[in-house]
Amino acid sequence: MTTTLTGRAAAPGAAVAPVFVLRTDVPASPIPERRRGATDAEVARLRSALDAARSQLAELATKVAEEAGQSEAEIFEAHAEFTADPELANLAADAIEDGASAERAATSAFDTFRDLLSASSSEYLAARAADLDDVRDRVVAILQGRTTIVSAPEERSVIVARELTPSQTASLPKALMAALVTEMGSPTSHAAILARSLGIPAIVGCEDLLETVEDGMHVAVDGRSGELLLDPDEQQQADIAARIEEEEARQRELDKLKDQPGATADGHRVELAANLVSPEDLAPALASGAEGSGLVRTEFLFQERRSEPSVDDQVGFYTQVLEAFPGQRVVFRTMDVGADKPLPFVERDAEENPALGLRGIRLHLDRPELFRTQLRALLRARAAVAGTDAGRLAIMFPLIAKVSEVLAARSHLEEVAAEEGVDLDDLEVGVMIEVPSAALSAQQLAQHVDFFSIGTNDLLQYLFAVDRLQGGVADIADPFEPAVLRLIGEIIAAGHAHGAWVGVCGETASDPLIAAALVGLGADELSMTRAAIPEVKDALSQLTLAECQEAVQQALAAGDDAEGIRAQLAAAFTGSRGA
């Protein structure tokens, strides 16, 4: 019999595959510190665990190579190699000789190398250091007779988890992810955002998920409806396959719009840009027809590092992004990190309430050296591409709450520019509008910036006092609520009154219905996950600016709640498109 679980649709697409449960909340049992047996016996026990780990990893590498390709398999080949390392074995054997258990000896030996590697400034070695933790956990699990450990699936699977951090999502080999389904989270959680940018179907906030599914169970994921079918029968599988086929056909149609600029049916231009996380996003963004980027999340450049990236490293990344978008605008948001997205190389106290803590512009002004290094790198990248046809660099500050923060940030920028001997003429500087106090000060803020970018993810969270990762309440913060659309309308009007252009860079912009409403409210630019660009472009091309304006004004006049507004907009736009 087929059961269906329903969560929230988080990334479109459909998939049928076995479940792989990513267990991150099961604590490993404590390891014994001292050995019980003789040295030789304990060393032999360790060696056989290392051998077993090696063959598991070699097997995994072969399987991944066959199913996902050689480049995905290399990571596991390197892991297998680490278990056979003679120096690692020597270190561990020495510890056993001194009385340690095999578990403790293996742990210390792996940790010794991990620490040596993570001391390096190289990103590559820092990643290998993290790999060592993974291999260590595997070896210790074998020693303890445990069979399940946290690791990548062995075949293309529907990844199931309570919650996924961005690094967990990113560390899973893409080729092995058929879909993502999480029990917690909302469509604006990081895992959902990543799933959309990878083009993988996803469902979030799926209650009772972990109690219901188990490893290997066949499931069908519908990323549009948010439905998860357990053990689908043949008819259901055929239906899903037909839907996948239909979506692919639609995709081919959308691909034809790729090189057209974003505009309404009557030719009103709306820039449709991509939000970018890493250099890996560049090719897919270009393939989706992105017109530049309205949000480059530079913090990812910092988060995977154990040490601060050098100015040159940063310049390299920024230049690469600029060169990918000739003639278009690329908005770099200075790193938005804080206690919710901590940096390994910035020591700081834990915070009770990280979303409301020392992050974004607050951290910039509290630790200006990191901020100024980043500004320096941005200005150098701008200078490096000056005179070429590369994209135009713009700088944006996150989490602005009041005017004084903009002034302080600008004076850092001016000082760094003076040190670098460059002028700031025609450099666009803007702010994220994501804090309600900034939204309500838009008239004042607009006098000090060239543009606003409305960050709807955080704005919704702060506006409704809702944690966007909290499954039970995430629905309260609905972008169709009249409060949201009214506030956005006021922010846009305030920006325009002072000559600032206004974009929207939250995930909200990737819903074609809202995108059209935002255009009706006056948005000049929409920056979204790249996968949504073709659909939004298609929707806008079928509506005139006047139709967008009328629809949103009528919906706001008539609708008291999100449901009402959604229905009004859908009816208005369907009517317009049909005409």
Partner: protein, 90 residues
């Protein structure tokens, strides 16, 4: 003991794959082989130890071989490095 210093030609440095090629050759030689960069000298048969040297393209590394036919083994190992350890270096 035979010893020689070479500049690493690999564009992405001595990362896991070329390190493995080198470590396997060092282990198979049967001689005691070390590799050093700056102050640190490590067992050349250990991929992990080689990685901790954090060798980038152009870095000078010194190979030392102790054992029978040290000179011939050294020629072989240096040849492997100059040949890119299985990677394109041009």
């Amino acid at each position: 003991m035979a010893q020689r210093t070479v500049a690493l030609p690999n564009p992405s440095g001595l990362h896991a794959r070329p390190a493995k090629v080198f470590a396997s050759a060092a282990a198979e030689s049967g001689a005691k082989v070390t590799v050093s960069k700056g102050e640190r000298e490590v067992n050349a048969a250990s991929v992990l130890s080689i990685l901790t040297l954090d060798c980038h393209q152009g870095d000078e590394i010194t190979i030392s071989v102790d054992g029978e036919d040290a000179e011939a083994t050294l020629d072989h190992l240096v040849g492997l490095i100059e040949g890119g350890l299985g990677e394109e270096t041009a």
